[in-house]
Symmetry: C2
């Protein structure tokens, strides 16, 4: 894995960096195609929203793009971009002069499940807490770490509920259920992250004759759903089944037709460069 810290190789992080001290920063996980981040505008917009929410000056966009190109190890690669508030003295108070730290890491192999593979989704006991920075990808990710530790040996992902017991997200992806010709996904104004692929789906579903809408999803509704989907920047849009449940979509029923439309939409999303 190649790592750049403020554009340079081989640098360690200052132990006083507020990213380490407090999780005071944001990050993006990006799919790179020939060194170019897919859906960059969405990643950049979310990164900037998070930085603005925290009051951290934003880095130069071109520096981020240059870093990502430099860490891209293969034609199709996954990379992570982190921006923290940089080093500071003891205590929570933000220093008068902030020198943000920019970290780019990438080049690991990009393992994408086959489009036809149905992911096995378990249910985690760890709840998603109210986000201090709703919708953004901040560095306070202990809940995800704890939920990830709950995965059973036969799980590909873990569903996380919010404080009200409604589905919020999965440990590293957004969740959707199929309802007729509508894909329903939990809102992200309190819990969870506004995924870039989720955003794309909300805007482009109509092309495939589908509608994607935000809806509160009690666990019962997820348990009874005809089909479940997960999305993130690594794998795009993939179908999932709850562990222990059987695929109930019949051969040629309306659910089967809707499912085919979702797969078509997913194929379009997954082919974006």
């Amino acid at each position: 894995m190649t790592v750049l810290v403020n554009g340079e190789r081989g640098n360690g992080i200052d132990p006083s960096d507020r990213g380490l001290q407090f999780g005071d920063g944001v990050f993006e996980t990006l799919r790179l195609d020939a060194g170019c981040p897919v859906l960059w505008e969405r990643h950049w917009a979310r990164l900037c929203r998070g930085l603005e929410g925290l009051g951290i000056p934003q880095p130069r966009e071109q520096d981020c793009l240059d870093d990502l190109r430099a860490v891209a190890g293969s034609s199709l690669a996954l990379a992570k971009l982190i921006v923290t508030r940089g080093p500071g003295p003891r205590g929570y108070a933000v220093p008068e002069r902030v020198h943000p730290t920019r970290i780019a890491m990438g080049g690991g192999p990009l393992a994408i499940p086959d489009a036809g593979q149905i992911l096995r989704l378990g249910i985690c006991g760890t709840r998603a807490g109210r986000s201090p920075l709703p919708g953004c990808k901040h560095l306070n990710r202990l809940e995800n770490v704890l939920a990830r530790r709950e995965w059973g040996a036969d799980w590909d992902e873990g569903l996380m509920l919010d404080g009200y017991g409604n589905a919020s997200c999965a440990t590293q992806s957004n969740v959707f259920i199929l309802d007729g010709r509508c894909l329903l996904t939990p809102p992200v104004d309190e819990f969870g992250v506004a995924g870039t692929r989720r955003g794309w789906l909300l805007e482009h579903a109509a092309r495939a004759g589908l509608l994607v809408q935000e809806a509160t999803l009690p666990l019962d509704r997820v348990l009874a759903a005809e089909a479940i989907f997960l999305s993130n920047s690594r794998m795009g849009l993939r179908r999932a089944l709850l562990v222990g449940q059987r695929d109930s979509v019949a051969g040629d029923g309306p659910a089967s037709a809707a499912l085919a439309m979702v797969f078509e939409l997913g194929a379009e999303l997954n082919a974006l460069v």
Copy 2:
């Protein structure tokens, strides 16, 4: 400030350290007296509880004590001890072999407010979220950072409410209100941190003829309280007044007598070595 990473000076942190990536670790802020941490048993117990909750192997206690002694800059000093899960590959999954990172930093000047000084306490809009590791001091501290950014120019601390609108804690201390001869403090089973001084006060208040008890504290009750106190490892136990409120404790009433008892208790706490 002197910094030791795994016992050595001058080391940077591996950018892949999970403390930076996810806030995957815990910390303690300690008052050192001639190189020895005050109330060490309580700090160590809480650190170990947090590590156990996260499934991070605990470091050798003696290594931590040696580090703290080495970073103590003056006879009375403040230090911070961080233990993270150490470096890892991409993703939330915990690596099979964990090599925790131990960081000790200290030596900054220890600014303790005068015992008689009444701290000015503002009320923050940032809420304390449900802790993923109740009572422990984990590295996910964005809420504290955001609340600290709200401090007005005339604030010494900021009160944080929980999701129910009850007082939870202050940005860097525990909160108490005086009720007769009882000091009431919010429980820490969902929100906030189980402070070492808070723990000591719960156990030792009887010595001064007082009782310290956990109680849910709606904001109204804090607003109406005869007296408010704050505690942490840096300043011990200090009195606070809400910004804009006037000291209502009369000269020789029962409240005044109780106040004197709290100051006596605080003096005992602050003198611990």
